[in-house]
Symmetry: C2
């Protein structure tokens, strides 16, 4: 039996548990992030074009906020197809590229980077494999150092990407040391709460075992968390999950909710809380079951379940903690449904002929 | 009985049917788009910051491609919360703002525009209400002229927004007249195929009546269509639907598919077709039911159902046609499930206590 083959969901859970240690290791590597940040500052690029798929793209959603708030830069999740499939010739003179790929082998991400480099654009790879083609092509490499990820559903590489984006943004904004310290504190807080969260989410998952649909609600930096939780629920539990901002939920989709269509709401203690709170109140008034998770979870009127999380030392750190209950929910729910997040099973084909 | 109160889904279907005429009317208003485009060209802004919620945000997804391909500009779906909730001070000197709101009354979109204007940024409103607060605040207004939208689920205002973004992008790129003509031709083609599509989608919906989850697949400009179809399915049918790019589907979520978790794949005749085709083949090999829709629908091996659409006169016009089968599917599926897209019903509250 190899290290990656164990009981159902064993690798997935082990990799969730590795996250505090991984965040602490990244916090110790401030110098590497400072060096890439210095390059961005020196050239004065105002636009960071981020590219990635799946969990990497969800991490990039976080980068929109971290670069915007800490460095005053426009960071955007760029369209890969615009360049790779359609050959668009967009002015890149004010941009650098930040490519996110756990494996460093996602073909169209690698091709996007090659094309950008050929046009003289500075490219940064954020990858878990410093020997990958992506790392070889990029001008600068920020290695995640997360160790091999055995479960098919990504967990630790997602949080490592978020932490890497945070550190890079903070160093560009001249506040790297403070955020490095805050990352250490966050890692310690996460280590403390993990065992309790594992128990709690197992109980929550048992109550949700028959759910086939879920909306995941987040605003601001936590929209990244919402997208990643929705993807985990899809990948590991076959749940039809959609991530929505608080405002998007309140306008229209709230009417779609029913008792078997619950809402997972991420509730940080930040300026987005009133919008999240209003959306939860509307979802609850509409009859939906709401599970709230976050530092402000207990302050949301109308939530059926509140999963309280510690306050992050600085607001932008909270997505590193609030993703964990979602990861644990997906794992526990997969287990309750007889699915294996480590090894998705094969499927049977049927045909409909209308 | 008022004009808006009729049989279940009557307004929704009527508004879908109004779309060809509406597109033709927009095609006649090239001068208005040329005038706003001239402003963008004169100032040389390289970044278009688009903001909107729900269907408006889905239309903005299209704008990323139309501005990128036709005008070589970076158009991005900007974070509203970054500015409105968190007060981020991002450099806007190279940007103009394009705000999309059917009603022109979405509070945080209006506030985003106010803030941008106070910082001296040129703002453009794309709205169905030229007397709205959004129109009043903006420097320039592009009215959709879609007439009042009675159904809660947006249809004609979405296609009008897409057409408006196309016309504006084409005029910025100096090719407005050609795209105006192509829009006329597209309107005529859509008028021709609509009756047949209504019949076809009623049959498809009957076969899908028990579905609670769906993945919607699109790449490039059709990713906007995929997002909008997923939102329609959620809003009108309570389906847990997620939009994915072809590449995102193939990496991970494909394993989540089962016979009751079908894929709606949008298949245009453009450079993204090989990626869509590969994703459909993988979904089909994994046992999923695939419904393909688009000009290249019949060229996708593995699709259980192919809904062929006419070739668009120019590739960027195809999303104006390919959204329609999705709108019709949502309406017919709602009807088959006893739901009303015009008037979402109230809901009952339940509580879970894990």
């Amino acid at each position: 039996v190899s290290a990656s083959a164990g009981a159902s969901g064993e690798a997935y859970l082990r990799e969730i548990r590795e996250q505090p240690e991984l965040l602490a290791r990244l916090a110790d590597r401030g110098g590497e992030f400072a060096s890439v940040a210095a390059e961005i500052r020196r050239h004065g690029w105002r636009t960071i074009r981020m590219v990635g798929h799946g969990s990497s793209d969800n991490a990039a959603t976080y980068g929109v906020y971290s670069f915007g708030l800490l460095a005053g830069l426009t960071a955007l999740r760029d369209s890969i197809s615009l360049s790779v499939y359609y050959g668009a010739e967009i002015d890149l003179s004010d941009s650098c590229v930040l490519a996110l790929s756990q494996s460093g082998r996602t073909p169209d991400v690698v091709e996007y980077v090659e094309r950008a480099r050929r046009r003289g654009t500075f490219t940064i790879a954020v990858t878990n494999d410093a020997d990958s083609p992506l790392a070889a092509y990029a001008d600068a490499v920020l290695a995640l150092g997360a160790g091999e990820e055995h479960a098919v559903a990504a967990t630790k590489t997602y949080t490592a990407q978020v932490a890497a984006l945070l550190l890079l943004s903070a160093h560009v904004g001249g506040d790297g040391a403070r955020y490095g310290d805050a990352l250490h504190a966050t890692a310690a807080a996460l280590r403390d709460v993990l065992p309790g969260l594992e128990q709690r989410l197992t109980a929550v998952a048992a109550a949700l075992a028959d759910i086939d649909r879920m909306l995941v609600l987040g605003r601001g930096p936590e929209f990244a968390t919402a997208r990643e939780v929705a993807l985990k629920l899809l990948e590991t539990c076959r749940i039809g999950a959609m991530a929505l901002t608080a405002t998007d939920l309140a306008h229209g989709p709230v009417a779609a909710l029913d008792p078997l269509f619950p809402v997972w709401a991420i509730a940080p203690s930040d300026a987005s809380l009133p919008a999240v709170s209003e959306a939860v109140a509307r979802a609850s008034a509409a009859g939906a079951t709401v599970i709230a998770s976050g530092a402000a979870a207990e302050r949301l009127a109308g939530a059926s379940v509140a999963i309280a999380l510690p306050d992050a030392p600085l607001p932008l750190l909270s997505p590193l903690v609030s993703i964990v209950p979602g990861q644990l929910l997906a794992g526990a729910l997969a287990h309750a449904r007889g699915l294996d997040p480590d090894h998705p099973r094969g499927l049977q084909k049927v045909t409909i002929v209308p």
